[in-house]
């Protein structure tokens, strides 16, 4: 039984945010990933019970969204953007080199369970291309070498900090909890905006 009474109480508090409880299914699935790392059978059953749904209905939702994983991922889940712009700008090279470096392919995990790899679609940071997301934190303007260093650091327990994010990179489970709405108190860390975000502002101040 992976769910303590404290966990179950947290689930109730997530449900309480919504006018109708079925709306809580997505944060609850994020929460299940925060506890177990992926969407387990037990997680589906607990959610079904909490929301008075058939287990099939929970499965239908969990399999629709790509962030919900039906198999374990690494402590550091590395997403390389391979949508057109990032791919052209170097995402394809990055993906190939990090995949070769780790010896794993798309949706696979290193044997030590530390790093998993995913080809991801556009992550709304195109002015920072090529972009890599680790546990859904931004790693901007990446190169094949920077990503190799990144995953090596992650495997040694010393990953670099996100470009725009908290001072230290949090684990997959920790960040899943944030997406479930459980605050980690790190909102104040990191820059307000990256340099490209501020470019127009800077130019306008310069009168350009």
């Amino acid at each position: 039984m992976a769910y303590s009474s404290e966990n179950l109480a947290t689930m109730d508090s997530i449900i309480a945010r919504y006018p109708r409880k079925r709306s809580a299914i997505m944060p609850l699935l994020h929460f299940v990933q925060a506890i177990e790392g992926y969407v387990t059978a037990e997680g589906i059953e607990v959610i079904a019970q909490k929301l008075e749904l058939a287990t099939a209905e929970v499965t239908a939702v969990s399999t629709f969204y790509t962030q919900y994983k039906s198999e374990p991922v690494g402590e550091y889940h590395v997403g390389v953007c391979i949508n057109t712009l990032c791919a052209v700008m170097g995402g394809d090279e990055i993906y190939k080199s990090v995949s070769d470096h780790l010896g794993i392919g798309n949706d696979e995990v290193t044997k030590d369970g530390k790093v998993s790899l995913e080809r991801i679609e556009c992550n709304a940071a195109c002015d920072f291309a090529p972009v890599v997301m680790v546990n859904w934190e931004f790693f901007d303007n990446q190169t094949p070498q920077s990503v190799k260093d990144l995953v090596d650091g992650a495997r040694n327990g010393n990953p670099p900090a996100p470009t725009r994010g908290p001072k230290t990179l949090r684990t997959w489970k920790e960040n899943s909890a944030v997406l479930a709405g459980i605050s980690d108190g790190l909102a104040g860390e990191g820059v307000s905006a990256g340099e490209p975000s501020k470019l127009g502002l800077k130019l306008s101040k310069e009168g350009k």
Binding site: M26, F64, Y65, T84, E121, T143, S183, S192, S197
Partner: protein
């Protein structure tokens, strides 16, 4: 005089721009005070008068959308903010929420008040944890400051605001799919009618607005209709965020009055990267038909882009230089649409499956010119035949690239392979060699 007009981005260079303190220091939450002293209908009228149009892609007049909500019907109303920013190339809402989340919250309070909603939601795409943190903290601080919750500003208006993380589904940017997702279902588009204004979230009257649209509201309320109307073009009023990415020297966000041209924006971005030339670009994300060199002076407003055969979309200007293989670019976008097709309707689900296979063959140089005609005919059986606009978006890059670059497709077939070196188009092409 700068052609730019930073409003939403005016303070992104301040280290605490995302905090309540930082926002208030720059005049934040004054608009709420003003709006709550007005009648709700007057707020709707003000937004109607301003000419603000949806910044999420379709450009529907925001005030009119609000006005569709049946008033005094005794039902709960909802305001839902679409922060599912996922259209390839689109990267404006995420930096906005990271650096200035309170502008959205202030807009939500005003919008909810106007449409008589006491519950609002922000549906944020799930793949941006730090943005989630910033918005969540901003909501907490707004509650603590009495700007959310019961009796806001002592004016007797109640509003609950819930931040909801998506989980990786582009289709949830479609407003009815978003509502199904928010209700706890698979994010598949709903049959319309009924439209969300009549039966949206929980079958209640609902407004779904883009982040930038709602975040623009406080500035309009604070500065007035005339101020807003003075910017932009005849039917495209105000300021907006243009996002330049790709093969430009300095990519980034440029907030400017509607109607600026790519030529002007490129100039500010330092031009195409050194030693290269513009080949093709998207005016508003991958779903908007691509443009070329010949469109550099098209005014980037709703009408101008439309007249030139595309759509303003999300103003996501993805710039590609001559090193880029257009077939490869289109294939990759098509793979995206296949990945994101919800599966509900036949043409999108099966069509994107087929198109990816067809384009892979073409990219590898296998086929004849008859296969190019076949490709266009398959697209013709998909575009305008599907349940929602996703498949139309999938058709756009194919049709527009075939319009401007059919000979490049043909060159693949003549050569029996792709004539481009993918390394040449990378950012680190020089560094890596």
């Amino acid at each position: 005089m700068s052609k730019l007009k930073p409003v939403l981005s005016a303070h992104w260079d301040e280290a605490d721009s995302f905090t309540l303190e930082g926002y208030r220091r720059n005049g934040g939450y004054a608009a709420v005070k003003k709006a709550l002293d007005m009648e709700p209908d007057a707020v709707i009228q003000l937004i109607k008068d301003s000419g603000l149009r949806g910044r999420g892609g379709a450009g529907f007049p925001t005030g009119m959308k609000w006005g569709f909500i049946p008033q005094n019907d005794g039902k709960d109303h909802y305001l839902v903010v679409n922060a599912d920013e996922s259209e390839p190339g689109t990267c404006k809402d995420m930096p906005l929420l990271m650096a200035n989340p309170h502008s959205l919250i202030e807009g939500i309070i005003i919008g909810s008040y106007a449409i008589r909603a006491n519950y609002a939601f922000i549906y944020l795409r799930g793949e941006v944890v730090h943005v989630y943190r910033r918005v969540q903290k901003a909501i907490e601080d707004a509650y603590a400051a009495g700007l959310l919750g019961k009796n806001i500003n002592g004016k007797g208006f109640d509003l609950e605001l819930v931040l909801h993380a998506g989980a990786g589904a582009y289709i949830c940017g479609e407003e009815t799919a978003l509502l199904d997702s928010l209700e706890g279902f698979r994010g598949q588009p709903r049959l319309r009618p009924p439209f969300p204004a009549i039966a949206g979230l929980y079958a209640r009257p609902t407004v779904v607005n883009n982040v930038e649209s709602i975040a623009s509201v406080p500035a309009i309320v604070a500065n007035g209709v005339e101020w807003f109307q003075a910017m932009g073009t005849e039917k495209s009023k105000g300021f907006t965020l243009y996002s330049l990415s790709g093969h430009v020297k300095n990519p980034g966000q440029f907030e400017a009055p509607l109607g600026i041209t790519l030529r002007e924006l490129l100039e500010m971005a330092g031009g195409i990267r050194e030693g290269h030339t513009l080949k093709f670009w998207t005016p508003g994300g991958s779903s908007t038909p691509m443009f070329t060199q010949e469109h550099l002076d098209v005014p980037l407003d709703y009408e101008g882009v439309g007249a030139a055969g595309s759509m303003l979309g999300t103003k996501a200007l993805q710039i590609f230089d001559e090193t880029t293989c257009v077939v490869r670019a289109v294939l990759r976008w098509t793979e995206f649409y296949k990945h994101e097709s919800c599966g509900k309707c036949t043409p999108c689900r099966e069509g994107t499956w087929w198109l990816v296979q067809a384009l892979k063959e073409l990219e590898a140089g296998r086929g004849t010119s008859a296969d190019l005609d076949k490709l266009l005919d398959i697209v013709d059986n998909i575009a305008g035949r599907s349940f929602c606009a996703l498949a139309d978006g999938a058709a756009s890059p194919i049709v527009s690239s075939m319009k401007y670059f059919r000979e490049e497709y043909q060159r693949h077939l003549d050569l029996g392979s792709c004539p481009f070196d993918p390394i040449a188009s990378t950012l680190f092409a020089g560094a890596r060699a």
